[in-house]
């Protein structure tokens, strides 16, 4: 039995090697994606372009404008006397914020009666950016104004902040584990379903079935090379993550490996199930992509925090295996937690896998 499984695995390996373009994509995609995600995914806003409307042209207003420009958040790109059509400015000049000082700004600032009013127009198209900018402007302007007037305001409550698990706030640390979940799924689910449907398409699957090989041996033999490939890719991601972003696995490596095997098992089960439904490769791809890859990217908490999702979508995300794997892998890599804390998601993950295998074996038998 062992020999026959190895024979099938060797045959599958030859298929993989022959299609070297795909192999290259599989091996290099993780590395390229890691670099991109690591460097490009920064949510921090810096140097947001700002325009100033200042009819007062006073020393006080220009001191405040300088203070705004000095922050890393804003960059003042220009100043106008009068902005008659602000919306037009936003459309044409690609600024995100327009500070509008009143003509009597200096007098209002010193009068002390009502204070000087500054209107701040913010481009809210991107709600995230809009919120951050809105939260920032008020305290920034107030602080600058107090400084101009030479008033010191007492600090009454200081908030000592401590960031845990990802002290340097590197987004790479958050995305690398997510990337692993996605790539492992892609290799295990997509490639195995393609490998099996390809044989169906070419008619060689029947030939395999009439051979002395048992169905279980065929499936196992076909799965093994992809398991190896997934393991190589996973290791590659961890190595690149360590070398270029300094990401260390805080918890136990062997627990990480064990959890990954459970996840790969579940993903392979998805691939098997798809290959019992699909009749050719194109169908397999069309099922795998929207039905597994997209939920994994969007609903697993990879990019968008789960807590922000509406309740209906959170129910769907509870069915996505990657949701549990992400919890495990982030726990191990970033927090250094182990089985004691993470047994629950691990059990659910394994449970989903067993359920899927049971269903697909049943479907498989019906087809024969």
């Amino acid at each position: 039995m062992k020999r026959r499984i190895i024979a099938i695995a060797a045959k599958e390996l030859r298929h993989i090697m022959r299609d070297w373009q795909t192999l290259m994509v599989i091996l290099f995609m993780p590395v390229v994606m890691m670099f991109l995600y690591g460097y490009a995914l920064t949510m921090d806003l810096i140097e947001v372009p700002v325009l100033v409307e200042d009819p007062s042209l006073s020393q006080e207003s220009s001191a405040i404008v300088r203070a705004i420009d000095a922050t890393t958040l804003f960059r003042v790109i220009g100043s106008v006397r009068v902005a008659s059509d602000p919306e037009r400015i936003f459309k044409e000049q690609h600024v995100k914020v327009l500070f509008r000082f009143p003509p009597d700004f200096a007098a209002g600032l010193r009068s002390g009666a009502h204070g000087a009013g500054i209107q701040v127009l913010i481009d809210g198209s991107d709600p995230n950016t809009g919120t951050i900018l809105r939260n920032a402007v008020e305290s920034l302007v107030l602080k600058a104004a107090l400084e101009v007037l030479g008033i010191e305001r007492p600090e009454i409550v200081t908030v000592d902040q401590r960031v845990l698990y990802n002290q340097e706030q590197k987004s790479a640390l958050y995305f690398v584990p997510g990337l692993m979940a996605i790539l492992l799924l892609m290799i295990s689910a997509l490639l195995t379903s393609l490998a099996i449907t390809r044989e169906k398409e070419l008619g060689t699957f029947e030939q395999l079935l009439v051979s002395p090989l048992r169905p279980g041996e065929i499936v196992l033999g076909k799965i093994l090379p992809y398991l190896a490939l997934a393991a190589i890719d996973g290791t590659l991601i961890l190595l690149v993550g360590y070398a270029s972003f300094g990401i260390r696995v805080a918890g136990s490596l062997s627990f990480l490996a064990a959890a990954s095997v459970v996840y790969i098992f579940t993903s392979l089960a998805i691939g098997l199930l798809v290959s019992t439904v699909a009749r050719n490769q194109q169908q397999a791809m069309l099922i795998v992509l929207p039905a597994t890859m997209l939920p994994t990217i969007i609903l697993s908490g990879f990019i968008f925090p789960l807590a922000s999702l509406p309740i209906a979508l959170r129910c769907i995300s509870a069915l996505v295996p990657a949701t549990y794997f992400l919890e495990i892998i982030r726990g191990v890599i970033l927090k250094g937690t182990g089985l004691a804390v993470l047994w629950q998601p691990l059990a659910v993950l394994g449970g989903i896998g067993i359920l899927l295998v049971a269903v697909s074996v049943k479907k498989f038998k019906v087809q024969l």
């Binding site: 701040v120 709600p127 919120t131 008033i151 706030q169």
Partner: protein, 375 residues
């Protein structure tokens, strides 16, 4: 001309014949629009937080109460000790802890002021940042109010402490709804995926079926093939833009402030790139699988650098340079500006030109390569 018409007709016949693929193309795409329309939110909310209130005084309770009035946080039961809170953080039950020290009230009235401690789970840097910013702002507001209140009680003037009032006004998306920002972008993505993938698969399917050689020995010229393989998908793409636009306006209640025909013009110019990429990959690839991987790879790359959910301006310079050749980026920007700001060609001609240049380059590269391969 007749041959071209025949080729187009043949392609539509192929599309019709492959019932399952059509169904798989249509249903998930609409499903995606609906799911993604609601899921793609960079808005941060429902952060689970717990308090460790060692002070347990009216002051500390009032401070915590002032933080409750916001859906950014979901307050969980308080922890008795910091160690217990730490364990709950480890488990992932909560994402943030606010610790009020026992000497809170006493230090509140000293010159140095009181200290509270905030522990934040920093795994998701964005959520952590938003939480920290909001907490600090509200706490300092609370402190200010208390201070002003104290001054007033003593009959002192307080205006000089607040010399400016800042009134922020949000333009274009006054409710700051993420659907308003994300649905236009989704229209772009779905059109890209469908036109790129379908056109990519169309040629390679003929290759694997062996009908490509048959096609080449007929009087049909390579450029007939290309036109025949592009026009149907261009039409599908245009139809999709119309359907998605209707859905965006009628279902998601988005404003469409731009001009419909300008949107179509941008769409057609943009599809030169997406169809070009499809044809290019299907000329290079030898199996549908390879097309899928290539298209998927290119898409992931371009989508990430398109400003879809991370503003391009936030990225380092070298990444921004790469993003200059990204056609999706221009189309996405243009569609969003059209939807929300009502911009037209007068404001967006640069984007149109860039898309046109990229489209011509990609498409002629595809045609050249196809010609060489066909011979």
């Amino acid at each position: 001309m007749n041959l071209v018409r025949l080729m187009i007709w043949k392609e539509f016949a192929h599309i019709r014949a492959d019932r399952l693929s059509v169904r798989l193309m249509v249903l998930p795409v609409f499903g995606m629009l609906f799911i993604l329309g609601y899921a793609l939110t960079t808005e941060v909310k429902n952060i689970d937080i717990a308090a460790v209130d060692w002070s347990a005084t009216p002051e500390s309770r009032s401070l915590i109460e002032s933080l409750r009035a916001n859906r950014l946080f979901r307050w969980q039961s308080p922890s008795p000790t910091v160690d217990d809170a730490r364990r709950r953080l480890d488990k992932g039950e909560i994402k943030a802890v606010l610790v009020v020290p026992p000497d809170f009230v006493r230090t509140l009235n000293t010159a140095e002021g009181a200290h509270v401690q905030l522990l934040v789970d920093g795994q998701d840097a964005n959520s952590a940042n938003v939480a920290r910013g909001y907490l600090s702002a509200v706490i300092s507001q609370w402190a200010m109010q208390r201070f002003v209140h104290g001054l007033k009680a003593r009959g002192l003037r307080v205006e000089s402490l607040v010399p400016v009032t800042v009134s922020p006004v949000i333009l274009f998306n006054p409710m700051l709804k993420s659907t308003w920002y994300m649905v236009p972008a989704l229209v772009v993505l779905l059109v890209t995926i469908i036109t790129g993938l379908l056109s990519g698969l169309s040629i390679v399917k003929e290759k694997t079926a062996g009908t490509f050689e048959q096609l080449m020995v007929t009087p049909v010229e390579p450029h007939h093939v290309i036109v025949g393989k592009t026009i149907p998908y261009l039409l599908i793409g245009v139809a999709e833009i119309c359907v998605f636009l209707a859905l965006a306006v009628l279902w998601f209640r988005l404003p469409f402030r731009g001009n419909f025909f300008v949107l179509l013009l941008f769409g057609v110019v943009y599809m030169m790139s997406s169809l070009g990429i499809g044809i290019l990959t299907s000329t290079i690839a030898r199996s549908p699988q390879q097309v899928l991987f290539l298209v998927w790879f290119i898409m992931i790359f371009f989508i990430l650098l398109s400003g879809f959910f991370i503003p391009i301006d936030n990225m380092p310079q070298w990444v921004r340079n790469i993003a200059l050749i990204n056609p999706i980026r221009y189309f996405m920007f243009a569609v969003r500006e059209m939807f929300l700001k009502g911009s037209g060609i007068a404001e967006l001609w640069r984007e149109l030109l860039s898309m046109f240049a990229i489209g011509v380059t990609v498409f002629s590269a595809a045609v050249l390569l196809f010609h060489r391969r066909a011979k």
